[in-house]
């Protein structure tokens, strides 16, 4: 996984799963994304980082066709064009939304049953319930009555029933207690081993734990792309793009 020859852009790099070129998104009057372009390499976790409101979630929604966008998106070597959301997802994109968005009025079992239409989903269900044993215990409970962490497990479990080629995960640790975050990270690690993931994360520590590649957005544009390790060791860049990291001048 950390083999440098697999880094995107290197001559021996495998074909990217997702290629985005010149993507622009408007929401009402606001011009959110400007000429965004990046690639997601197979079998690794790519973190999409940036301060609040730079357009990370917007990028995922546009990829899913839930927001209109211009530009070109190639998935698995084929342009997605104007495909509606459900057809994009059917091509092999699974989605774990910000704020979980589980169906609160449906039971845990019904939430999972909605995803059982995927080929092989019934065979994957025991694997999902093994990663998230809480979901099995609480299968009759209404999803709306689950804790935040449990809802996140359900949102992830639901996505994992889909034998997808790309997993889009939006802020899986948002609003969760630190101890739960540790649990979610462990679950994510188990669930995403060898999977291709585009991970939006506000919490840099979580991104550092999970991702090998990083894309940083700033003011609706791609400000930086590279390996997570490079970003991690560059405090100046972290501070200027993400507003985090030690300020060296403050050090004694």
């Amino acid at each position: 996984m950390s083999d440098p020859s697999l880094a995107p852009g290197s001559p021996t790099a495998p074909e990217p799963v997702l290629t985005v070129q010149g993507m622009d998104v408007h929401r009402g009057e606001a011009h959110i994304l400007h000429d965004v372009g990046f690639e997601v390499a197979p079998n690794r976790v790519t973190a999409l980082l940036g301060r609040n409101g730079v357009g990370k979630t917007t990028t995922l929604l546009a990829l899913l066709g839930l927001l209109p966008s211009t530009g070109r998106v190639d998935f698995d070597g084929v342009p997605l064009g104007d495909l509606p959301t459900h057809q994009r997802v059917q091509r092999g994109i699974a989605y774990v939304p910000e704020d979980r968005e589980v169906f609160a009025q449906l039971s845990v079992e019904e939430n999972l049953r909605l995803a059982l239409h995927w080929p092989g989903a019934a065979e994957r269900l025991p694997m999902v319930l093994e990663i998230f044993p809480e979901l099995d215990k609480r299968s009759a409970q209404k999803a709306g009555s689950l804790s935040g962490g449990q809802q996140q497990m359900l949102a992830l479990g639901r996505a994992l029933l889909h034998p997808a080629k790309l997993l889009l995960i939006d802020e899986p640790t948002k609003g969760l207690a630190p101890i739960i975050i540790t649990e979610v990270i462990a679950a994510l690690r188990a669930a995403t081993a060898d999977a291709t993931v585009l991970l939006v994360e506000q919490n840099l520590r979580v991104a550092e734990e999970l991702a090998t590649d990083a894309i940083v957005l700033d003011e609706g544009q791609v400000a930086w792309r590279g390996s997570m390790a490079d970003l991690q060791s560059d405090d100046d860049r972290k501070r200027s793009l993400l507003g985090v990291g030690r300020a060296r001048r403050d050090a004694p």
Partner: protein, 297 residues
């Protein structure tokens, strides 16, 4: 209040509630799932009542009025299904997300429907013959209850159970319930939610048309504006019950039906209708999401 009057008003109010439920349940599901305020829903109801009139007066070759009424019920339900399906397929589908156009187009359909039915069958009120059984009375706690009232109640309850069973036990029902909560997320799970839109319109059309059949029996007469008049109360029922909630719609229909009957009887004709509007206002002020609705919209 004598017991007899209480029982009679209760059964009559529940019969009215059944009619309201049948037209309001589809309306509520359509709004809950698609955010479409379907002003053509009254037309589905009127289509059902005129289909019944047509079968009851033209199908003389079926000697038994009871059998003829059963045929009328099936024909009305089928016509409601087709009209509901066609409304979504040919008119509403092009304008999802465009609320003003949807309101205008369904209002236009509704008015065109009234004119078409009026031109075809005349604007005069029509009555249709009903089976002898409907006119018989049963005595409950001293009150003489027409069998037709009980029958209306029975058909409504059977359809309520059928609808809930469909929503809870089938995959289509599961997708509809999930879609009422969060349409985008259903699509993001690779499910073509638009197919459910057509289905919900067809089911809504069927239920409203059966409501039209029972309404024709309940009010002992039909006019081309019949559905439009009932639609106003159906909207009130939907808002009080909570948008998208079938159980809420049923509960709210009972409250509205009983309130109307009792207040109209004791406080004077028309006061009951006004009271229902006050119930609506109180709901909007105190519990804007409706009795069993989850989210205020």
């Amino acid at each position: 209040m004598s017991l007899q009057v209480f029982v009679l008003l209760s059964v009559t109010g529940l019969g009215l509630a059944g009619v309201y439920f049948l037209i309001a349940s589809g309306l509520s599901l359509i709004f809950g799932l698609m955010d479409v305020l379907n002003l053509a829903h009254g037309l589905f109801f009127t289509v059902g009542s005129y289909a019944t009139w047509w079968v009851m007066t033209r199908f003389g070759f079926i000697g038994s009025l009871g059998l003829r009424f059963a045929v009328a019920l099936v024909v009305a339900a089928a016509m409601g299904l087709v009209v509901g399906w066609a409304t979504e397929r040919f008119f509403v589908r092009r304008f999802y997300g465009d609320h003003v156009t949807q309101i205008l187009i369904t209002l236009g359909l509704s008015l065109a429907g009234v004119a078409l039915i009026g031109g075809w069958f005349s604007y005069d009120p029509r009555t249709f013959p009903v089976p002898e059984l409907f006119r018989q009375v049963v005595v409950i706690a001293g009150a003489r209850i027409p069998v037709s009232r009980l029958l209306i109640l029975l058909v409504s309850v059977v359809l309520l159970i059928a609808l809930l069973t469909f929503l809870r036990r089938t995959r289509h029902g599961l997708i509809i319930r999930a879609g009422v909560e969060n349409r985008d997320m259903v699509q993001a799970m690779g499910i073509d939610v638009a197919r459910s839109f057509t289905l919900v319109f067809a089911i809504g059309g069927l239920l409203a048309a059966v409501g039209g059949v029972l309404g024709g029996v309940f009010f002992a007469g039909i006019t081309p504006e019949f559905g439009l008049n009932v639609l106003i109360f159906a909207f009130i029922v939907v808002v009080i019950g909570g948008l998208g909630s079938v159980e809420g719609t049923a509960l709210s229909a009972v409250i509205v039906g009983l309130t109307q009957q009792f207040v109209n009887f004791y406080a004077g004709a028309g006061v009951g209708d006004l009271t229902v509007v006050f119930l609506l206002a109180a709901t909007l002020l105190l519990r804007p999401q409706g009795l069993l609705g989850e989210v205020a919209r």
